[in-house]
Amino acid sequence: MTPAISVAGLTRRYRDQVALDDVSVEIEAGSITGLLGRNGAGKTTLLRVLAGQEFQSSGSVSVLGGPPAENEHVLRRMVFVREDQVYPDFKVRHALRAASWFYPNWEAGLADALIADFDLRPDKAIKKLSRGMRSALGITIGLAARAEVTLFDEPYAGLDAVARQIFYDRLLADYAESPRTILLSTHLIDEAAALFENVVVIDRGRVVLEAAADGLRGIATTVSGPVLAVDEFTAGRPVWNRRRLGSQASVVTVGQLDEAARARARSLGLDLAPLTLQQLVVHAAEWPAAPEAADVPPPAMEGASA
């Protein structure tokens, strides 16, 4: 499948820091990809470059077949919803009306349904909205635009659990009806994990993990139980993280466990728990610094081959 977004050797340097450091990544068309990483990892900068709002220091960026910066042909087929969006002195309905002019596939019915779901009043001034309600407005614009490439940067900051569930449900329902390429950055990884077909994890400006979400299931396992049994089981296996509490130990091993390994763990009285996506991201972010890193293959390879 041709990639909707293709980035090679992308670097964005600011005066005193490197926000993006030689990032290369491809996002396939018609997929939902999670862009994950810690605060300051470079997620927003990457999305801003993709949306043509920021310029790269070096490297190449291609969205829908062309560089996005100042490229009308690309820009009009893309929407970018960001957490810290600045709005003019508009009321909610002004922002929606303006957005409807710029997106050829604008779905007014969906916009109406979403503002009803979120309880967003059209006559309210945007600057008087709470943080959560501003997020709801951004989400409404992002989904109703039905743009071929939809970029969400922390779209639900400040939204309560019910409203977040509305977002997930609406996103999946509308995506099924009108497939597009969605790239979504978030901190609430486990909550959103079910949405993602692919994940990209960046840390300190570098891509540390790029994989299909399916391929990540069972890629790492937490083994816990008595120290001796855990040590025996994990001997010779790549290990990411080791914790010990009295006579009990908890170790994260990397790699799929076959049936024989599982049977052996049971006989040793060990608990096996697959790492959730969130735990995986935590470890992936730590990966270059982890003491056992030297003999562990980069997780990107494992994920990609699965």
């Binding site: 920021e54 087929r77 893309m78 960001r82 969006q85 600045v86 002019w101």
Partner: protein
Amino acid sequence: MSTLVKVARYHLVQPFQYLGLTWMVLAFTFAVNEIIFAVAPVSHHTVTTAHGLVSVASTDGRYTGALCSFFILFLVLGVTSIGRSLPFGLALGMSRRSYYMGTALLAVVLACADGLALTALQAIERATDGWGVHMHFFRVAYLLNGPWYLTWLTSFVGLALLFVYGMWFGIVHRRWNLFGTLTFIAAQVTVLLGAVLVITWAHGWTGVGHFFTGLTVAGLTGLLAALAVALLAGGHATIRRATV
């Protein structure tokens, strides 16, 4: 619908500041001046006629200059047309170029329409002998005092110039914040200072004086139009690398 028209409409989706605020401020300024002129005594001078000495009201010099508030508002509109509107505009997939040209289109259309309205008000002022109180509000000495088409042209060019100048300020502030804005002002002052020094060293002040005393309003309007085009080009060069 062309992209530039869409951008201009984007600014007018909340039309109050462009269509309402300017006229409200003008109405208030006008009311204040009207009241002052109604209560201020008109000076008289005596002239000798066949019937002897007659006292005549002298109304020639009753200019207010308050119309400049309307023009200054256009500068402010230009600044705010960038401010918080640019980030949301780019979020909606406008390119910087079309945002800029669409906003300039709005400036031209607005200046043209408002200039025409000022011209009409000036005609009413002439017909009513200065709103019944001998007031020169829409007539400004030298600048807006000629035939209606010249009033229209000069106010159109003046309003558009100030709007475009404000846009450039808005973009500079967007890119380099307060320090950049102050540097921008300092740079302009430096250019003017340089011009003054060059003219002084070249003993050119007599020539400059002759140039300006010989300058007609139409000539001045032409110069302002050229300046507006230069400012438009400067703003365009500045917005190309603006980030939000």
